[in-house]
Every structure is written in structure tokens, then in C-alpha cells.
């Protein structure tokens, strides 16, 4: 166990997997020379060989297209999106090629690609560099979507993603990169498709993932002081969703708040809420509550951005309304 940042945990996962399997390589914009815009690839080339960490031209279409081709030729590529916002450029490669090929060729080939995508609001990064777009990918069959909230899962999920024979989109919230956590050394795999209870409680379940999970933990602390015992469920994987864990917790607490940084409309929270309503309606002793960003682009103005931001007290208020 060692205490390292989320960013260092992803680097450790990359290094271990690349040393374990010579087929693994990584490509993206500014990852070799610069070490990634958030430093998450720093010195990777010197650790595993410069030829396996490839700087590409500024073309997401080329990056994902090349990754899919390499995967079909037997490699296990990791592609970096620089910002999740740039997915727009390469969506045909993502959802018509990467997600469909294994299915359309009747399973005769596999597409073991990982696309890493730093997402979420930073400080004043404006509308085109602050988005959380995970819901797009949850809507596409053929892609797995993982969303670590801490350093240990950052490592464990990245290693599992690289070993998966299916395409995986790996969302890493930029605000999490500097946050430290205890990370198991060596072989540590977080299973894809398994949520985890981060904090046990009995009165209300706070369901979240990625950076918003930390706000849920803060909210749970506040609620505890007011006599409300909140359970915090970290989804960790958004596709496939761990329906069993969601329903078990809701059946236990009878109340649920779903929180995420992405806008509320059409968000992952809507899917989770629908599953609960379909499968466990009569376990509910209160309406399902969602806490998410307003349905507007993320503002550039610092004042407006602060007003836009979901804070722990919003989660606390939503939870208290359920009693």
C-alpha cells in the first residue's frame, strides 16, 4: 500500500500493464514530450520505452481510428483524448467503429481499446473544456464506461480496462488528479461492472461516481451530524451498471439521492432512477432525488461557474427533503 495521487496511480497502472504485456501502447496529443496536459503520462516513455508512448497530430479521428486498427491487428492500444470534450471530433470512430466491429463481425475479432478522457469542470476552463459527457457512451451498446473516484480505483479500473477485450472509455475527472489515496502495490484489479459501498448507512443512499462521490462523502458527514445515516454508493462503472448493488442499497434505506456533475437532463442519474422505479418502487419511502448540474453550458465567468457548481450542501438539502 502506498499513498500516491490519482494521477500517479494511473501512471503506475500504465507502467505495470505495459511491462506485463508488450502489446500495450499509448498514443495521444502531448503525452510523450509534455507528459500529458495534467502530467498523468510524465516520464512514461523512459520507463517503458519511448516507441510505446506516441505523440500524435491534433486529430482525435486519427487517434481513435488508428487505435481501433491497431486493436484489430492484435495490439492493445490506450488512446488519450486530452479533454473528454474533444470526443465530438471522433464520434464516428467511437460509436460506429470501435463499439460495433466485434458485434458486426459475429465475434470473430475483438477491439481491446481503452480511451482515456479527462472530464469535468476545472477552474474557469469554460464551456468546451469542462463537460461531463459520460451519458453519451452509456447509451451506446458495445462500450464499457468506467469512472473512478479515487486513486486505488484509478489504478484498478485502468488495469482492468486495458485487460478487457472490449472497448472501454475511462473517464478521469481533472480535479481528482492531485488527490492522494492509498493504492495497493503491484497487481490490483478493480472489477468492471461492480459498484462499491464507500460508506455504510441506513436512512438514505447517496449514489454517485467520479469527483461527485467526494462531495457525497462530505454530505454524508454533515447528515450524520444531523442524525441521518447516509450510505454512499460509488458506481465505479456506468456501463454495465451494477443494478444489484443499487437495488440492494435502496431496499435497505428506502430513500435515494443520485448525484453527478453532468447536467441532469438525460444524465446517468435518470437511468439509475428509472431502474429503481422499475425494480424497487415499493421499497421507496420518498421520491427519488437527483442532484446534478443545471441544463446549460458550463459558464466561463468565475462567479457564474461557482453558482453552477454542485456543492455538498445541495446533496444535504436534497437528502433532508426525503424525510
Amino acid at each position: 500500500m502506498k499513498n500516491i495521487t490519482f494521477s500517479q496511480a494511473t501512471l503506475e497502472a500504465m507502467q505495470e500493464e505495459m511491462q506485463r504485456d508488450p502489446k500495450v501502447f499509448v498514443m495521444g496529443e502531448d503525452i510523450a514530450r509534455q507528459g500529458g496536459i495534467f502530467g498523468q503520462f510524465k516520464d512514461l516513455g523512459s520507463l517503458v520505452g519511448a516507441e510505446r508512448v506516441i505523440d500524435t497530430p491534433i486529430s482525435e479521428t486519427a487517434i481513435v481510428g488508428a487505435a481501433v486498427g491497431a486493436a484489430l491487428a492484435g495490439m492493445r492500444p490506450v488512446a488519450d483524448m486530452h479533454f473528454a470534450d474533444f470526443f465530438g471530433v471522433c464520434m464516428d470512430e467511437v460509436f460506429n467503429q470501435m463499439a460495433k466491429i466485434r458485434y458486426m463481425f459475429g465475434g470473430q475479432t475483438k477491439v481491446p481499446v481503452v480511451v482515456r478522457a479527462p472530464d469535468g469542470m476545472g477552474k474557469g476552463a469554460a464551456a468546451q473544456h469542462s463537460q461531463s459527457v459520460e451519458a453519451w457512451f452509456v447509451h451506446i451498446p458495445g462500450i464499457q464506461v468506467v469512472v473512478p473516484s479515487n486513486a486505488a480505483d484509478a489504478k484498478g479500473l485502468l488495469k482492468s480496462a486495458i485487460r478487457s477485450d472490449n472497448p472501454v472509455v475511462y473517464f478521469e475527472n481533472k480535479t481528482l488528479f492531485p488527490i492522494k489515496g492509498d493504492v495497493p502495490e503491484g497487481e490490483h484489479l478493480t472489477p468492471i461492472g461492480k459498484a462499491c459501498i464507500t460508506r455504510e448507512g441506513k436512512d438514505v443512499t447517496l449514489i454517485s461516481y467520479s469527483a461527485m462521490l467526494l462531495k457525497c462523502l462530505t454530505a454524508a458527514e454533515t447528515l450524520a451530524k444531523e442524525g441521518i445515516s447516509a450510505e454512499v454508493l460509488d458506481l465505479r462503472t456506468l456501463s454495465p451498471l451494477d443494478t444489484e448493488a443499487i437495488l440492494a442499497s435502496v431496499r435497505k434505506t428506502s430513500r435515494v439521492v443520485i448525484a453527478h456533475e453532468a447536467v441532469k437532463q438525460g444524465g446517468v442519474g435518470a437511468e439509475v432512477a428509472a431502474i429503481i422505479a422499475e425494480e424497487a418502487l415499493d421499497a421507496l419511502d420518498a421520491p427519488i432525488a437527483r442532484v446534478a448540474s443545471p441544463f446549460t453550458p458550463v459558464p466561463f465567468s468565475p462567479t457564474l461557474e461557482e453558482a453552477y457548481r454542485v456543492r455538498p450542501e445541495h446533496i444535504v438539502a436534497a437528502a433532508k427533503k426525503l424525510f
Partner: protein, 430 residues
């Protein structure tokens, strides 16, 4: 800061308590440790003491039925104002909400029509037979939530019982029963409602006194009526020669410990029960519940009623242990200090009226058990032995068994075996 005085939860199953008696008046000064009020549950009376010094503010008067954990009053500093806001959760005499709760849907809540309740509350209400229309919602957005259901009595019925009740116009709330209400319970309630009221000419009425039933008396009335209604009872009498039992008792007492006939009988009966599991069983719906242990209830008479403390796991205990435990439970019973766990969970009951010279009686089964043994006086009786008339101490045993489970031959076999063990108490060593 005022400190609230609450209705305590005195046992796992306690849901409400009656404020039997306030020892102080509203506005009196009290000291920490003073007994504030007495709470009466189905079978117990407990004293509730003050936690701090101050002035007592009373929210609910004597006789109120209050759900556990509800505020019944407060202790405040002199001059401090205390307000008990929110709707009162308990009310004078049987609460108004439960009565309303059993009116047909649509008539509650000022005829407001649609009932707003959470899905879970609706589901539980349906399971428990609670009509939501009379309840006030305190959940999110004023909805009726699960916590509000506790304000209504839990009425569980079989579909047939509900239909019969509807047909006869029997209010299910008036059917006194702890468990699920069956058709037989509804019929019994209907019949008892037909008993003419106790009225008479004025000069007679002047000599009639009325007093409220204590919670314990109500519980006894309810439990006995329910047992009578639900169990077809068969009675068995059999006399046992207790010469050997008397010897055993005498010799055990020589060890310095006072052992009673009841102590030894508890062991003897438990021995016989192990061989006759249906007599140590119960009924739950369409299932027979058999017990691989014997939890022996022993009826203890109290000045104001009756309680049946239970000795758990008799089959694994020695006579000395049984004797100690029974003495301790009986003392606690007399002091009203038994907790629910100590008078529940029985699988069979013994009731001993021998000390009054009773020679035979028909005890009523302590539900949900399947039988009860009445123990009678030991009477010196002339009997024939080897062609001679000799005097022998005989004890008559009176068994009441539920014929749904215990057929005549089985009841008789149990009694015969019990007599065998009593007359040859060394069998208990086997």
C-alpha cells in the same frame, strides 16, 4: 434548555405505552432521579425517572396511549417556556387516528379523496391491513411515509376474515388480537357484541361501579378470548402417584436448596415434550411450527392479574438451575420488572393451582402454543395395591390441548408418558 421526557421502549416488541400515573403535576418542581410517571405496557408497569432538576411540563395526561420514543413531557428551567409543537402523537384513550383509520377509504382527511403516500408506505399498509385515509402524512412533501404507519394499529387479516367482517359489519379494529385475524376471531367478536349491555333500573345502577381495565387486564381479556376463539380445546385428566416425586423432592432439598414440585414437574414435562413434539408446537398459517427446545412458561398470579414468565431451554438445564431461574423470574414478575423477552417465546405452559386445593381445572392455552398443563393439589387417596387398600399421594394433572394439532390419542399418550415419568422420576436421567 428543556429536556424532553419520552415514552421509553421497554422491550423489542413494545410499540405504545400507557401513562398510568403522573407522580407530579404540571408545573411542579422535580429533581433528577424523581419518579416522574409510571408507564404501563401490556404486562408491565415501569417507573420513569427525571434526568435533570427543573420544572415539569406535561404534554399527555394520565391514561394517554403514546407511541414509544414520543415526547410525553419536558423538564425545563424555572420560567422557561416550553411548547410541544407538531400534532400530538398520542391521544386520550384509544387514539383517534386508528379509529378513523378503519373507516372506508375516502372518508378520512376531511373527505379529501386521494391519499398521498409513499410506495413503500402503501405496500406495508396493504400488508398490515391499514387504511391510509385516516392518517396524517409527515413524510416528504406531506406524504404518508412508513413512519406514519406506526400511528395506526396493525390489523392483519386473512382475506376470508376481512370478507366475513364486512358482511357482519364487524369493525376489525374492535377484534382484539395480537396476531393475524382469522374468520373465527371475527365471528367471536360478532358474538360478543351481541351480549346485552350491563344496564338495569336506576336503583340497581346506583350500586354498580365501573372502573377502567388496566393494560394488563385488557391484555389478559384479549389473549384469553382470542385463544378460546381460535383453538378447539380438548381436556384430559390423569392422576399420578407422586410418592417417588415426593421422595425426590425431599432428597433434593436435603442438598440445602429449596426445590418445589413445580421445579421438578417442569423438568418432567420437558422430558415428555421431547418425545411428543406436537404438544410442544404451534400453528402459523398453514404450517406447523415444531421446536427442538422447550421454553417453559409458568403462570404467576399477581395482585392485579397474571403473567407467564418463560424459562428458556429447559431441556438443557438441571432442576437446580430451573429452580433458581423460576424463583428469580417470579420475584421480578411480582415487582413488575419483567422485560418482554422474559415473558415471551414460550413453547408450553404450566399453571399450578395445587396450593389452593384445586383438584381439576381446564386451563386456557397460552397462544400460539398447542397445549397447557394444569397442576393440581396432592391428595392422599385410597388405592388398591397388590390386593390391599393403601393410602397414596395422588396429583391430578389437567391438560388442555389444541385439537388442530394434538389428536386425542396423542394427547393421551403424552399424559400417560408424563405420569410414567412422574411415578418413576429416574427416567429423567435417561
Amino acid at each position: 434548555m428543556a429536556v424532553n421526557v419520552l415514552m421509553p421502549k421497554l422491550g423489542l416488541t413494545m410499540e405504545t405505552g400507557v401513562i398510568a400515573h403522573w407522580k407530579f403535576k404540571h408545573g411542579d418542581a422535580v429533581k433528577a432521579g424523581d419518579i416522574l410517571y409510571q408507564v404501563e405496557t401490556d404486562k408491565l408497569t415501569n417507573d420513569i425517572t427525571a434526568e435533570i432538576d427543573g420544572v415539569l411540563h406535561i404534554k399527555f395526561p394520565e391514561g394517554s396511549v403514546v407511541p414509544v420514543a414520543q415526547v410525553v413531557g419536558a423538564i425545563a428551567a424555572p420560567g422557561e417556556a416550553v411548547s410541544f409543537d407538531g400534532a400530538p402523537a398520542g391521544e386520550k384513550t384509544p387514539p383517534a387516528a386508528p379509529v378513523a383509520a378503519n373507516q372506508p377509504a375516502g372518508r378520512g382527511a376531511g373527505g379529501a379523496g386521494k391519499v398521498r403516500a409513499t410506495p413503500k408506505a402503501k405496500k406495508l399498509a396493504a400488508e398490515r391491513g391499514i387504511d391510509l385515509s385516516g392518517l396524517t402524512g409527515t413524510g416528504p412533501d406531506g406524504m404518508i411515509a412508513v413512519k406514519d404507519l406506526d400511528k395506526a394499529p396493525r390489523i392483519k387479516t386473512t382475506p376470508l376474515a376481512a370478507k366475513v367482517a364486512d358482511g357482519l359489519g364487524v369493525d376489525l379494529a374492535s377484534v382484539s388480537k395480537d396476531g393475524r385475524i382469522f374468520k373465527a376471531d371475527v365471528l367471536a367478536a360478532h358474538e360478543s357484541a351481541q351480549v346485552p349491555a350491563l344496564h338495569g333500573p336506576a336503583e340497581v345502577q346506583a350500586k354498580v361501579r365501573r372502573m377502567p381495565m388496566s393494560a394488563m387486564r385488557q391484555a389478559i381479556a384479549r389473549n384469553m378470548s382470542a385463544s378460546w376463539a381460535v383453538s378447539p380445546m380438548v381436556h384430559y385428566d390423569l392422576r399420578a402417584d407422586v410418592t417417588a416425586l415426593g421422595e425426590l423432592k425431599k432428597n433434593l432439598c436435603l442438598g440445602g436448596k429449596k426445590i418445589s414440585y413445580t421445579d421438578i414437574l417442569i423438568k418432567a414435562v420437558s422430558h415428555a415434550l421431547k418425545e411428543h413434539p406436537l404438544v410442544n408446537a404451534g400453528i402459523d398459517g398453514n404450517e406447523i411450527v415444531l421446536h427442538d427446545y422447550v421454553n417453559m412458561g409458568v403462570a404467576v398470579a399477581l395482585p392485579a392479574g397474571l403473567i407467564v414468565p418463560v424459562i428458556k431451554g429447559v431441556e438443557g438445564k438441571g432442576i437446580g438451575e430451573v429452580s433458581d431461574e423460576l424463583r428469580e423470574l417470579a420475584e421480578k414478575a411480582l415487582q413488575g420488572k419483567l422485560v418482554t423477552e422474559e415473558f415471551s417465546g414460550g413453547t408450553f405452559t404450566i399453571s399450578n393451582l395445587g396450593m389452593f386445593g384445586i383438584e381439576s381445572f381446564t386451563p386456557i392455552i397460552n397462544q400460539p402454543e398447542s397445549a397447557i398443563l394444569g397442576v393440581n393439589a396432592i391428595v392422599k387417596t385410597a388405592v388398591e395395591a397388590e390386593g390391599q387398600i393403601v393410602m397414596r399421594p395422588l396429583m391430578n394433572l389437567s391438560l388442555t390441548a389444541d385439537h388442530r394439532l394434538v389428536d386425542g390419542a396423542e394427547g393421551a399418550r403424552f399424559m400417560a408418558r408424563l405420569r410414567e415419568i412422574i411415578e418413576n422420576p429416574w427416567y429423567m436421567l435417561m
